[in-house]
């Protein structure tokens, strides 16, 4: 008897049989299959209590209310606030992705100072002391006016605090970013007598004529415009878009008039010609409530007959005549202007012509017409600032940008002229520049000139939330809280028809060592001492905000998130205007009777015309697009890192370019490599370029992708107002 291999075989078979009859293989198989479904590096989002917090979006001037969905202390999603008068639950792409801005790795997490080209963290006390020391020195040297500021918006308490600081300290050089609202505001002042803002009653208009305004590409208050245009479809109101390119807005219009770019003012004047020559205007308005009509009429009838206009604009005489008649005969016609999102103010000629077109149909202050809106919400008054002697003297200095000066007496702010002024060495050099709520290095036209001008300023202080292009150029950064972490009032104009204020509240505690810019301003003012400190007696920004809003508004705002002035009623034209004569004053014919602002550049070297185009898929302003926006950017706009420009197939054939081909785009301001996309929806001879790309800073999802339109297009001073009236630039496109 021996133990041999058979025994072991038998042992094995026995073991196998036993194992099979035990749970081991089955359990292991089952567990392994579950194990394969475990991906420990895939995050498991923690569950918790869901809270919806009401707040206000501050990423554009649109004034949407937002509902922030928080799970425990995390912001999970941002949605539109239901019942909000502006957006009623809807929200745009940028607002929807705003949580990505809150959690962006590109947040500035503490005050930093640039030392030998590198950022070094410093304490808040040191940061504020650096500024106040500098400001005190400059004041003592009699150079208070060499402190300048570029800020985001005109309205709201933060902006009011900036203005107050500059007034008490003694510098006239605080500049805001400008937009089409500035051009409108000027026209309203000239024609109706008070510097108000325009309101557009799209909700009641039955015929909308838009001169290149991207009504659904982000113009005015974007979500309100989406809603208004959707509603117009339901009401079967007519909508005509005048634009050289088939933008989303043009695509949604009932009629698209592909005009030669830059000639919109001429078309408006041509339409006025039709209305005047066929006596289609509102007679009572002209006879009883106007001044200067005869001169104006004479000028238009002489200079802008439809035949002339047709030649210049590329739109048929018959179309012009029909459009003029149809517009004048509509019950509630409404004409608007401000190209694209209205980021560039535009010329006085164009805005005034469009406004007169409205006026002649008798829609001013009427249902479906253009309303004069108050320039800001009614707040509790602050005690008047009394500048001390130093400040009073410094405030006598002329503004560097020339606004309000001899050349451009009508302009409020001209930041687009700043680079040119600094680079040509005019005026006293700026010694200290504050940048708050703005990103001038990215948003101002002619990037190279702006960079050069900023580099010449010895000390720049940024109050940015994210490391954007302007923050990168700064010497000191005092990071503001992200808008989801701070209190702030958000007065809304944006073409709405009732005055609205929203309140942004901190939906989460500040994540980093940041400080509300309002608190920074108050701290700076208080450290400067004497009269300046006296003008800022608030304990902190929150008490300032609360006092300014008043108890009633504060209560309503903290509860509802918004406050609407229910008592506001537009003043119809029949009740007169605010001008001295209570009449509508037709613009001086000389200011309208000249060729429109043209694209700069030599036509031989640059035979094409480059225009910038806005879309909802990219943020074109001071805020950089978060990753979600880059994700939904079409491949006909961005391909890998390449910007894709749009040209007509006919243009492409002339240039020998095929779809997707690489090319070099050049303008008098700059050049760069692009790819081309062929599209029938653009006038031959034009090159369209999306705004919002070409960021040098921000995260890897945005930085280094595409090109910035501002690097190609320079500002053009409107001869009548000084506002930037550039609508494009001469360009060339050649095979790479």
């Amino acid at each position: 008897m021996k133990i041999d291999r058979r025994c072991f075989l038998s042992l094995g078979i026995g073991a196998a049989a036993g194992i099979t009859l035990s749970p081991l293989p089955w359990k292991i198989t089952d567990d392994l299959s579950i194990w394969t479904q475990n991906w420990p590096w895939t995050p498991v989002p923690p569950d918790g209590k869901t809270i919806n917090k009401k707040s206000a979006c501050q990423l554009c001037p649109g004034g949407c209310g937002i509902a922030v969905r928080r799970i425990d202390k995390r912001v999970v999603k941002i949605e539109g606030l239901k019942g909000h008068p502006v957006n009623d639950g809807g929200l745009c792409t940028l607002g929807l992705s705003a949580a990505q801005l809150l959690y962006s790795p590109f947040r500035i997490q503490a005050p930093v100072k640039k030392v030998n080209g590198k950022w070094r963290k410093i304490s808040w006390d040191d940061a504020l002391a650096t500024i106040t020391t500098k400001m005190t020195e400059l004041r003592e040297e009699g150079k208070a006016h060499t402190v300048a500021g570029i800020i985001g918006g005109e309205r709201g308490t933060v902006s009011m605090l900036w203005q107050r600081l500059f007034k008490a300290y003694g510098s006239p050089n605080l500049m805001r970013n400008t937009s089409m609202e500035d051009a409108y505001s000027l026209v309203l002042q000239k024609t109706q007598g008070n510097r108000v803002l325009p309101g557009f009653d799209f909700e009641n208009a039955d015929f909308v004529l838009s001169f290149g305004s991207g009504l659904i590409d982000g113009w005015g208050s974007p979500v309100r415009m989406f809603r208004a245009l959707g509603d117009m479809k339901n009401r079967q109101a007519k909508f005509v878009q005048v634009e050289p390119r088939l933008s989303n807005t043009a695509a949604k219009a009932d009629q698209w008039l592909p005009i030669i770019p830059g000639t919109e003012a001429l078309l408006a004047l041509g339409l006025i010609h039709v209305i005047l020559s066929e006596s289609l205007y509102q007679v009572r308005f002209v006879e009883q409530h106007c001044e200067g009509f005869d001169n104006f009429k004479k000028m238009v009838l002489e200079t802008y007959p439809p035949e002339q206009v047709a030649k210049a604009t590329g739109i048929k005489v018959e179309t012009i005549k029909e459009l003029g008649r149809e517009f004048a005969r509509a019950k509630n016609p409404l004409a608007v202007c401000g190209r694209g999102q209205g980021l560039t103010p535009g010329s006085f000629q164009e805005t005034a012509a469009v406004h007169v077109l409205n006026a002649l149909t008798g829609n001013l202050g009427e249902k479906g017409g253009v309303l004069a809106m108050p320039a800001g919400p009614e707040y509790e008054e602050w005690p008047e600032v009394e500048p001390d002697d130093v400040a009073a003297e410094a405030l006598q200095q002329k503004r560097l940008d020339g606004a309000g000066g001899d050349e451009f007496p009508d302009a409020g702010d001209l930041p687009t002229r700043l680079a040119q002024v600094i680079n040509t060495g005019k005026g006293d050099g700026i010694q200290l520049l504050f940048i708050s709520g703005a990103n001038p290095v990215y948003t101002l036209p002619d990037t190279k000139a702006v960079q050069k001008a900023l580099a010449a300023i010895p000390f720049k202080v940024s109050f940015a939330t994210h490391m954007d292009e302007s923050a990168e150029m700064a010497d000191l950064i005092l990071p503001n809280h992200c808008f989801l972490e701070r209190y702030e009032d958000v007065p809304v104009a944006a073409g709405l028809t009732s005055p609205i204020v929203n309140l942004a509240v901190p939906v989460v505690k500040p994540m980093y060592n940041t400080k509300h810019v309002g608190d920074s301003i108050i701290a700076i003012a208080q450290a400067l001492g004497d009269e300046i400190a006296d003008a800022f007696s608030w304990e902190n920004y929150k008490t300032c905000l609360k006092e300014t809003l008043g108890d009633e508004k504060w209560e309503k705002l903290t509860e509802e998130g918004y406050w609407v002035d229910e008592e506001f009623k537009p003043v119809p034209w029949k009740e007169g205007f605010k001008s001295a004569a209570t009449k509508f004053i037709f613009p001086d014919p000389a200011r309208l009777n000249h060729p429109p602002v043209s694209a700069s550049g030599d036509a031989k070297q640059f035979p094409l015309t480059l225009i910038a185009c806005d879309s909802m898929r990219l943020a074109g302003g001071a805020v950089g697009s978060p990753p979600f926006l880059i994700k939904i950017t079409p491949d006909s706009v961005l391909l890998k890192e390449d910007l894709v420009v749009e040209i007509n197939p006919a243009t492409a054939a002339d240039l020998g370019l095929k779809e997707g081909a690489q090319a070099v785009l050049a303008t008098p301001k700059g050049s760069g490599r692009v790819r081309v996309h062929l599209d029938h929806g653009i006038r031959p001879g034009l090159v369209a370029m999306a705004r919002g790309l070409g960021h040098g800073a921000h995260d890897k999802y945005l930085a280094g992708k595409g090109l910035n339109t501002n690097a190609f297009i320079g500002p053009v001073d409107d001869p009548d107002s000084g506002y930037d009236a550039a609508w494009g630039i001469s360009a060339s496109l050649a095979k790479a």
Binding site: W39, G230, K631, G681
Partner: protein, 264 residues
């Protein structure tokens, strides 16, 4: 003891293409709601995961007769000609995708999926996306992830679920009040809510009280690739004939096909 049975629902959408502005809010709302990841380079749209995608259609006419229309495309939640014979469900070897007759929703269970991608081949609408890479969120941004939707992993297919987790939440809310009644408003997809133009309507296609019931009977309603018999639950509206014709493949000169009405 058997519980009381509810009337089966057929959730679906009606999208008014004349109102859609192509802004992309639906896409972003969807990505934020459903933990859809993003990569550094998303310009290759074939591997860019967007459950909801807005396509640009043109009439291909030269300047200036060119017209453009935008078409948002979520998962069409095909019912097929006999219930549940959806193109993707019938090819899935892993029981990862399924058709639920209770709601009419085509489900996708990520942990169940083993990534064969048959369903992607079968789907005529390109509504399904494959995770070629592990999702990566920049440091700190994973805080935005919603616990109501399970984040996906490398190697699985994902697609629009008609925000099913919102239906689960709506049911929870109703159950808490010890009722089964869910109002039209209680269950709406993220894209429907976000659309600033009000172009998307969502509801039970079989429920006479829901807005979609009426809208789908509009003479201008059509569905995508109607003739494949996929019997989808997403209807489109457009007054323009060229747009309606773009919804299917037509021979030159062929007239517009009248939709087969299955959901009456």
């Amino acid at each position: 003891m058997k519980q009381e049975q509810e009337k089966p629902k057929k959730f679906g959408m009606v999208i008014d293409l004349d109102k859609c502005t192509g802004c992309g809010a639906c896409m972003v709302a969807c990505m934020a709601e459903n933990n859809v990841p993003f990569k550094e380079n998303e310009t290759n749209k074939l591997d860019s995961i967007t459950w909801m995608r807005v396509y640009k259609l043109t009439n291909n006419k030269p300047f200036p007769m060119t017209e453009v229309c935008y078409l948002p495309r979520p998962c069409q939640h095909c019912e097929g000609l006999h219930t549940g014979h959806s193109p993707c469900v019938s090819v899935c070897p892993a029981t990862a995708t399924d058709y639920d007759m209770e709601t009419g929703i085509v489900s996708q269970i990520y942990t169940r999926c083993f990534g064969c991608r048959y369903c992607m081949g079968a789907c005529p609408y390109h509504a399904r996306y494959f995770n070629w890479w592990d999702p990566v969120w920049p440091e700190g941004m994973e805080k935005m992830l919603s616990p109501n939707v399970s984040p996906r992993m490398r190697g699985v297919v994902e697609k629009c679920s008609f925000c099913f987790h919102r239906y689960q939440a709506a049911k929870d809310k109703a159950f808490y009040k010890e009722t089964r009644a869910i109002a039209e408003d209680d269950y709406q997809t993220a894209c429907t809510q976000a659309c600033p133009a009000g172009a998307i309507t969502f509801g039970d296609l079989d429920n006479k009280d829901h807005a979609v019931y009426k809208k789908k009977q509009d003479p201008n309603a059509f569905r995508l690739l109607e003739r494949l018999g996929t019997n989808t639950k997403v209807y489109y509206l457009s007054r323009k004939e060229w747009v309606r014709k773009a919804g299917d493949n037509y021979l030159p000169g062929e007239g517009l096909q009248k939709p087969r009405r299955i959901h009456e």
